[in-house]
């Protein structure tokens, strides 16, 4: 009990200091510095209408590469930790009729929606991460609806690696053409799509990278789900 009170006191001290510091950072005021530069130059420098996308893919591309890597580590790590000699699905009951027919009917549409989200990342809210998550949701439906369903690992794992290799390669092409890693060579060197800002075929390599990220995130999250849902067989340790 004493320890619990100590914990609460400790937490309250932290909370007090955070609140005190936040008091000096008033809510809702314009304190933009670098952000202002982004908003003013985003269209000419990257061709994207959605400034968040431009920041994520272009200006702070290293963060995004790192973020994709983190997810890759998670999927690899989960696979490494839950690796057993023999594993299979152990669900006994099929999903209800609503779920099975729903999964069959909706699957293409969910996939299509995911693809739509990540291809239009530079125009509308969304992008590779929610798009990939949507695709993973489609596979999640399949897992829940059918007891024996399993993704094809022969295709999925190399696809995951291939998308990552593609991302790094796009960056390295930038290094070769423009002299900088992750340089947007399509927009800044070739100038493709300068005349149709605000439409699909613009914004340089953002759609390409977001497609790669979408595939990667989709396969990785599906891989995590797959590893979590399969249980080791008896004596298969």
């Amino acid at each position: 009990m004493v320890k619990r009170i100590l914990a609460i006191v400790f937490i309250l001290i932290i909370g007090f200091w955070m609140a005190k510091a936040l008091d000096q950072v008033p809510f809702g005021q314009d304190r933009m510095l670098v952000g202002k530069y982004y908003l003013e130059h985003v269209k000419e420098e990257t061709g994207a209408v959605n400034a968040v996308t431009a920041v994520v893919v272009n200006y702070r591309g290293f963060d995004t590469l790192g973020e994709v890597t983190v997810l890759f580590i998670a999927s690899t790590g989960v696979a490494a930790l839950l690796w057993r000699k023999k594993r299979k699905r152990t669900a006994k009951t099929e999903g209800s009729v609503v779920l099975t027919t729903g999964a069959r009917l909706l699957l293409p549409f969910i996939m299509l929606f995911g693809v739509y989200i990540f291809i239009h990342g530079h125009l509308t809210p969304g992008g590779g991460f929610p798009g990939g998550a949507t695709i993973a949701t489609a596979f999640l439906f399949l897992y829940l609806a059918f007891t024996v369903y399993e993704v094809d690992h022969k295709i999925f794992e190399p696809l995951e690696g291939l998308a990552g290799v593609g991302y790094v390669t796009v960056g390295l092409i930038g290094l070769a053409i423009g002299g900088y890693f992750l340089f947007d060579w399509i927009w800044q060197t070739w100038g493709i799509g300068k005349e149709n800002i605000g439409r699909l075929l613009s914004a340089g390599f953002i759609p390409i990278i977001y497609t790669l990220i979408g595939i990667k995130v989709g396969t990785e999250l599906t891989g995590i789900v797959d590893n979590m849902i399969k249980e080791p067989e008896e004596g298969g340790q």
Partner: protein, 91 residues
């Protein structure tokens, strides 16, 4: 008007967080956690961050709750619940 909305959402988040932490049924706790994420995603929408709202709803709420539920499925649903401290401080 928007002030009241903000207060309402904030209150919902805090309440569902408290429930998530205090419910003994782990499945309910996970649902509470997903609710926190969901309300947070609504808050992001009001704070003019639609991109973040989408990601939070899709990844933060749905998928992480799903992963939690699979984990509960492979472990146990009702944990013993006496409280204490000091597990990580002890050497």
């Amino acid at each position: 008007m928007s002030d009241w909305v903000a207060i309402f959402i904030a209150a919902l988040m805090v309440v569902s967080a408290i429930f998530a932490v205090e419910w003994r049924d782990l499945l309910a706790a996970v649902v509470g956690m997903a609710a926190v994420s969901l309300f947070a995603s609504i808050a992001f929408f009001f704070l003019q961050a639609p991109d973040v709202a989408m990601v939070e709803a899709a990844i933060g709420a749905a998928l992480s709750a799903a992963v939690f539920i699979f984990a509960i499925n492979r472990t146990e649903r009702y944990g013993s619940e006496e409280e204490g401290t000091g597990w990580w401080v002890k050497w």
